[in-house]
Structures are given as C-alpha cells and as structure tokens.
C-alpha cells in the first residue's frame, strides 16, 4: 500500500500522539483503512464547567492535508460559543491559511502546515476553557455565556453529566 503525502503525514502524527499522548487527549483514525477520518476524545479542562467531561469529536482531513486544515466536529452536546449547534468547531487554527479578509485573525493564528492535530486538539481544549465571543458560532451560547454566566455553567455541567450517562 503506497501512501500519499497526507496519509504519510497523518500516520506519523498518529504515531507521535500514541507515543506521547498529551494530557487528556486520545486521538487516532477510526480505521487505518481511512487515515483521513479520525475520532478523538478531549477531556474537559479543569476549573471549567466542562471539567470531568469527555468529549468525542471527529476530524476529517482533506486530501491536500497538511496544506489545508481538517474540519472538526463534536459528536456530542457541546454548548459553547465557538461550537455550532451541529457540533462543528469554529476556531482560527481550523481556518485555511492566509490572512483573514475580515482582519480578525492574523495569518499566524490560522492553519498552516507547521500546525498539527495535536496543536488543534490543544487549541480546542483551551477554547473550551476560554471562549472567544467575538464571532460566535452558537449565538445562544455566546449570549448566555456573556450575560448569564452561572446559567451557562449549569447548562454545560448538566450536559456533561448526561453525556456520561449520569
């Protein structure tokens, strides 16, 4: 089986993520038959309402990875200003390389081939801890987070428990 650039790179990343897994992250292809489709688990960061939770997400890589970024989608309920109700994650590192036409993000914040799956997952973890409400993906969550923080936290905690079957 000959692997193309994207597949080789992903296998290499899979390997390093397996040998040196970052705290609270498990990631890998769902099946090695398709290296462009991963599933990962992210632990909710401590000291946040997501604490104690484990959040499954899928990563879909384009054929021209690592030139273009993957897309990431949470597979469970993640009520967060930067996560669309569909679960799709919206953060700068997942945006295609180059300068943001709206000048919100600098090129260095966006995707580039020197980024990695590990960096994405760590960014998502810190996003869970610190939402960016400048361009919310989930307006309802952003509004609640801004205006009724305690209600937002309760809402998240309840869904974390439900996701663990409790």
């Amino acid at each position: 089986m000959s692997l193309n650039v994207a597949q080789r790179r992903l296998l290499q990343e899979y390997r390093s993520l397996t040998n040196n897994p970052p705290e609270g992250i498990t990631a890998g292809p769902i099946s090695e038959d398709d290296l462009l489709h991963w599933e990962c688990l992210i632990q909710g960061p401590e000291g946040t309402p997501f604490e104690g939770g484990v959040f499954p997400a899928e990563l879909k890589f384009p054929n021209d990875y690592p030139h273009m970024p993957p897309s990431m989608k949470f597979l469970g309920d993640v009520f967060h200003p930067n996560v669309y109700p569909s679960g799709l994650v919206c953060i700068s590192i997942l945006h295609p390389p180059g300068d943001d036409p709206n000048h919100y993000e600098t090129a260095s914040e966006r995707w580039s081939p020197i980024q990695s799956v590990e960096k994405i997952l760590l960014s998502v973890m810190s996003m869970l801890a610190e939402p960016n409400d400048e361009s919310p993906a989930n307006v309802e969550a952003a509004k609640m987070w801004r205006e009724r923080r305690s209600e937002y936290e309760t809402r998240v905690k309840v869904s974390v428990r439900a996701s663990l079957g409790l």
Binding site: L41, G52, V54, R155, S159, G165
Partner: protein, 217 residues
C-alpha cells in the same frame, strides 16, 4: 286580479333578494376564507397545494414505513407514485410482496429533513438541551461500555494504572494499534464516569450535611 299580479312579481323579487343575500353571506364567507389561506403564505396557491400534496405524501410514506420498516423509502414512493398515491393499495402490494424495484432513473424527492431541521433549529432555541440530548446517546451507550463499567471498579482501576504505560506505546502491528487506541478511549471514558460518580456522591453527601446544618439557619 291586478293586486295579485303585482304581488307575484314582488314575491319573486323578495325571494330573489333573500336568495342573493343568503348566497352572498355563504359564498363570501367561503371565498374570503379560501382566499385568506394561500394569501397568508404570500398568495401562492399552487405552492400551497404542492406543499399540501407533499405533506400528504410524506404522511403516507411515514405510515407505511411504520408498518414495514424493512421497505425503503424509495420503493414506497415509487409504488405510491405509480398507483396514484393510494395508501391502502400500496400496503396491500407490499404485504403480497408485489412491489417493484424502482428504476435507477427514479429520483424520489428527498425526505422533508430540510424544512423539518430548520423548524427544529428554530424551536431548538427553546428546547435546545433536550433535543440535543436526544440526538446524542451518552458515551457509555455510544462506545458500548456498559459491561466494562459493570465489572468490579477496583479491579479495573488497578488494571488501568498498570496498563497505562503499556498502552502508551506504538505497536508495529496494525490491529494491535487499533485495539490499543480503542482501549485508551474506553479507559478515558470509564475513568471520567467513575470520577463523576464519585463527585456526585460527594456532592450529595455535602448537600445532606449542609442540609442538616442548614436546619440551624
């Protein structure tokens, strides 16, 4: 005689006027209500009709699918379309196993997910939590961990700590890698679940304690 002759036409006129009045009342009532329905949706009555037909068709498909979950939507739609949308007849044909396979060229209209999802998205604002919770099974169900969770917790915890350094490595065997990854995933979820259980138990105990203390407040 002359008086009677005058009376007759006037009677006719009176009857005519009442008749017209009654007709006007009834008809105008009907007409206005009939006009208003499509008018409310932008005055497009063919569209409204189309939508109504779609709704009827979807209802029929749903009814049939409830009875025969094994029959796919496309076959049902094909049969309904071929036989004038008669639900009864289609049901009978399915029962008798006389349904035809639709030709490849048959492109059934997509299930009404798009209008429904937009509708749910709108109502989701209100019932967001519940809708999403229903859509996503919890992790224990999702990863089929019920049995592992049921096994003795102390055993598992011991195995987890003992197995942790081992599962961290990269295996050259593809299947082994796959199963190690799965194991790590399962472990992560089971651990989270146990921790959360303990936390909830601790909270309950604390609540009970503060409840007892709160009696003094």
């Amino acid at each position: 005689m002359a008086e009677e002759e005058i009376n007759l036409p006037s009677l006719v006129i009176v009857l005519l006027i009442t008749g017209l009045a009654v007709r006007y009342f009834f008809f105008s009532g009907n007409a206005s209500s009939a006009n208003r329905q499509p008018g409310g949706t932008g005055g497009a009555s063919p569209e409204e009709l189309q939508r109504r037909r779609e709704r009827e068709r979807e209802a029929a498909v749903e009814t049939i699918q409830q009875m025969f979950p094994q029959v796919d939507r496309r076959t049902i739609l094909w049969d309904l379309q071929r036989h004038g949308g008669n639900l009864q007849a289609t049901t009978e044909r399915i029962l008798a196993g006389r349904t035809e396979t639709p030709p490849i060229t048959f492109q059934p209209p997509p299930p009404p997910t798009s209008p429904e999802t937009t509708a749910t998205q709108q109502s989701a604002a209100a019932a967001n939590k519940y809708a999403e919770k229903k859509a996503h099974p919890d992790l224990i169900t999702r990863y089929n961990l019920k049995d592992k969770l049921a096994s003795a917790p102390s055993d598992d915890a011991g195995a987890a700590t003992a197995g942790a350094p081992k599962t961290g490595g990269w295996s050259s065997n593809r299947e082994e890698r796959q199963s190690l990854l799965q194991k790590r995933r399962d472990q992560m979820i089971i651990e989270a679940r146990r921790k959360m259980e303990a936390k909830i138990a601790a909270e309950k105990a604390a609540a009970a304690a503060s409840g007892a203390a709160g009696g003094n407040n």
